[in-house]
């Protein structure tokens, strides 16, 4: 490898001590190289060390700026690690038996040393992970990082989002209290509305016709074995694709279109702009990685392109620039989580009682939005069709955008930012109006007959109509395909967040609107 073998020349005491520890056969059989001290060894050590070799030797300076990634992917990686470690510790105490589960959780919170803290970390970490997945998805979307050749990695990301939800959901049942019992009852009944396979799917998930021992052991096995395994594999795949796709989108080389600019005699941008990205060295070229693109008017872009080319060229060695950021991200998220877990206890309500339904009975908070939708339309539409279509739309999203310009740039253009803000305002206003209207007046009280009107026709009509108006309203800005996608993605995120907030904080007994301070005890579904 060309790495210098360890050769120490002991001089003073500390050095002598270090030498004593490191200058022997055992140490060197484990750590084969000295601590890297030159640019060359800092580069060479990356592929030589198992735990580092997923990294490129150098990373683009643009791609590791805090304001580009906000560290969200790293946070998720470390949160998964924290969940794994605390989960293993919890599993030493917890037995998935309806007669024991609840008291085991109580034991954990009261008797086991650091048990309450571990449980809190596990619980809040899971919620934080769901939140961070959404923020990460937003970051990737608004920076246009899903564009070719990274489309499939976006799809993997959507699968990871679903897995995160599934992991959180299966863990939700395990404490076997009223909260978990009724949240799972309500949510699995939603699955029962899927056409044809719904009821058999529900029975397959629960292992019985109602939530009971069979469901508990099923959820436990999914939660501690199958889903974490799948997750680990997909995380590995996700990372691998980042490498093979040439690092983060912000490290993209300039598109070849600018070559056209040179040929046509426009101002010449920097000389070697067509080189493959540094971070992809040694990688097989991915189809599309250096894809041509239909370019914008050449002359207009030549000068900024030249400046951008220089900026994009600037790389830093992974050791220590990226590694130190990774360590900081890990420490930061751990600190946040531990502080939060010291401050707030994870909820544990009364022992699950299949004979008494909590009022209100809410799904876990990240599904409360579906439950909120459910109040306004047919259960199959709200619980099955809309989420299924949304997931498909999310997966298809990167394939709808062929334009490679502005990949790795927040909001792409000023137009993009304007459209995003407009779409957010538009959606908040309409969603609020519709929720309040349905509560105070009610679609059913105006057109209740036939049932298909308030259940299907009107909700679908309203959603399609509002989407169409959103599209028409941004037309004067001459939006690109990406900007149209931005309008709709923003609408999705805003509706999702708003329904979650309304369902969590504004729905009381009988799922009627209340002020957050008048929520009944147990009205929150965290």
């Amino acid at each position: 490898m060309g790495l210098r073998e360890v050769e120490w020349q002991p001089i003073d005491l500390p050095t002598r001590l270090v030498a004593l520890i490191t200058n022997n056969r055992l140490w060197r059989s484990i750590f084969r190289f000295a601590y890297p001290s030159s640019d060359k060894t800092r580069a060479l050590i990356i592929p030589a060390v198992f735990f580092l070799h997923i990294h490129p030797l150098k990373v683009s300076a643009r791609s590791i700026r805090l304001t580009y990634t906000w560290g969200l992917g790293l946070f998720l990686f470390f949160l998964f690690g924290i969940e794994t470690v605390t989960g293993i510790l919890l599993a030493f105490v917890y037995v998935p038996d309806v007669g024991r589960a609840y008291s085991d959780v109580q034991t954990m919170s009261t008797t086991v040393a650091f048990g309450a803290l571990l449980r809190n970390i596990h619980r809040w970490g899971a919620h934080l992970m769901v939140l961070a997945v959404f923020l990460h998805m937003m970051r990737v979307f608004y920076t246009g990082a899903y564009k070719r050749p990274r489309e499939f990695n976006w799809v993997i990301g959507v699968l990871l989002l679903l897995l995160t939800l599934a992991l959180s959901f299966t863990g939700y049942l395990l404490p076997w209290d009223q909260l978990s019992f009724w949240a799972i009852t309500v949510s699995t009944n939603l699955a029962g509305y899927a056409p044809l396979i719904g009821e058999s799917l529900r029975v397959l998930i629960l292992g019985a016709k109602e939530v009971g021992q069979e469901a508990l052991i099923r959820f436990y096995v999914l939660h501690v074995m199958l889903l974490p395994l799948l997750m680990a594999v997909l995380i590995g795949f996700h990372f691998w694709r980042i490498r093979k796709d040439g690092g983060l989108a912000a490290s993209n080389p300039l598109p070849r279109g600018s070559q056209v600019a040179r040929r046509e005699g426009a101002e010449a941008p920097a000389a070697e702009e067509d080189d493959p990205p540094e971070s992809a060295e040694g990688a097989l070229p991915m189809p599309g990685a250096a894809a041509r693109q239909p370019e914008a008017p050449a002359g207009a872009r030549a000068v900024p392109a030249a400046r951008a080319a220089v900026a994009r060229k600037q790389t830093l060695s992974t050791w220590p620039n990226l590694l130190i950021l990774e360590i900081i991200a890990g420490l930061f998220i751990t600190a946040v989580l531990v502080l939060m877990s010291m401050a707030v206890d994870a909820p544990l309500r009364d022992l699950a009682n299949p004979d008494i339904t909590e009022n209100p009975a809410k799904a876990p908070w990240y599904f409360v939005n579906l439950q909120e939708l459910l109040l306004h339309m047919d259960a199959a539409l709200a619980g099955v069709w809309i989420p299924a279509l949304l997931v498909l739309a999310l997966m298809a999203l990167p394939y709808a955008d062929r334009d490679l310009r502005h990949a790795g740039e927040w909001f792409g253009t000023r137009n993009g930012l304007i459209i995003t803000i407009w779409s957010a305002v538009y959606t908040v206003v309409w969603t609020t109006a519709l929720i309040v209207f349905d509560e105070k007046v009610g679609v059913r009280s105006i057109i209740g007959d036939p049932a298909i009107m308030p259940n299907w026709v009107i909700p679908v009509g309203v959603m399609v109509g509002l989407s169409a108006i959103l599209y028409l309203s941004i037309l004067p800005l001459r939006p690109s395909r990406r900007e149209v996608l931005m309008a709709y993605f923003t609408a999705f995120i805003v509706v999702y967040a708003q329904l979650t907030l309304v369902g969590s904080f504004f729905r009381g007994i009988g799922m009627h609107l209340v002020e957050p301070w008048n929520l009944p005890p147990g009205g929150l579904s965290f």
Binding site: W182, T185, V186, T188, N189, L190, G192, V203, L204, L206, G207, A208, K209, E210, E214, R218, P354, D355, I356, T357, E358, N359, P360, A361, L374, L375, D378, A379, I509, G510, M511
Partner: protein, 176 residues
């Protein structure tokens, strides 16, 4: 093109030993995955219950039930509704999202069998009458029912068989 003309006599003529083995290997691999999937799903299917809810349940004697009355069987998770002409075993689970529907004897009746008493779902406000039919709220269909058998004068409810229905009609009654 010439090659295609001499050899292009369908799939079988091109199937030499090598490609036969190759196809066989692929077929075996696909079969293995399919079998693995089928076995996995079969192995985790819900098992029939032998005791408690999910089995046959004795709900007392025919004479115990007064006309217009609703009797709750907690362990069996059903209500016996004594209607004119017969019995109905109503599953207590709301057909909307599965909450337990409690009987409210003091609330305004939704049928003409008595002045008061109806089922109120706490989750999304569905209401049902003594026939189990929906009188309000988002529930999509009447409360599900269990088949009843009369053995001598004993009322036997089979909680392993859940019958869904679109509306009430008299054939659902078990005559007594």
């Amino acid at each position: 093109m010439a090659r295609e003309e001499t050899q292009g006599r369908g799939f079988l003529s091109k199937l030499d030993r090598r490609s036969f083995m190759a196809y066989g290997l692929w077929a075996a691999a696909i079969a293995l995955i399919v079998e693995g999937g089928v076995i996995s799903v079969q192995a985790i299917r819900a098992l029939p219950k032998t005791a408690a809810f999910g089995s046959k349940f004795e709900a007392g004697k025919v004479g115990d039930f007064e006309e217009g009355s609703i009797t709750y069987f907690l362990d069996g998770r059903f209500y016996i509704s004594r209607l004119p002409g017969g019995l109905l075993a109503l599953y207590r689970k709301c057909t909307h999202l599965g909450c337990v529907v409690p009987w409210r004897p003091d609330e305004q009746s939704e049928d003409n069998l008595a002045g008061s008493g109806r089922f109120n779902c706490p989750c999304h406000g569905s209401r049902f009458d003594r026939y189990g039919t929906v009188k309000g709220g988002p529930a999509p269909r009447p409360l599900d029912i269990f088949p009843i058998k009369i053995d001598g004068d004993k009322v036997i409810v089979d909680t392993g068989t859940i019958t869904t229905r679109g509306s009430y009609d008299e054939s659902q009654l078990t005559k007594v």
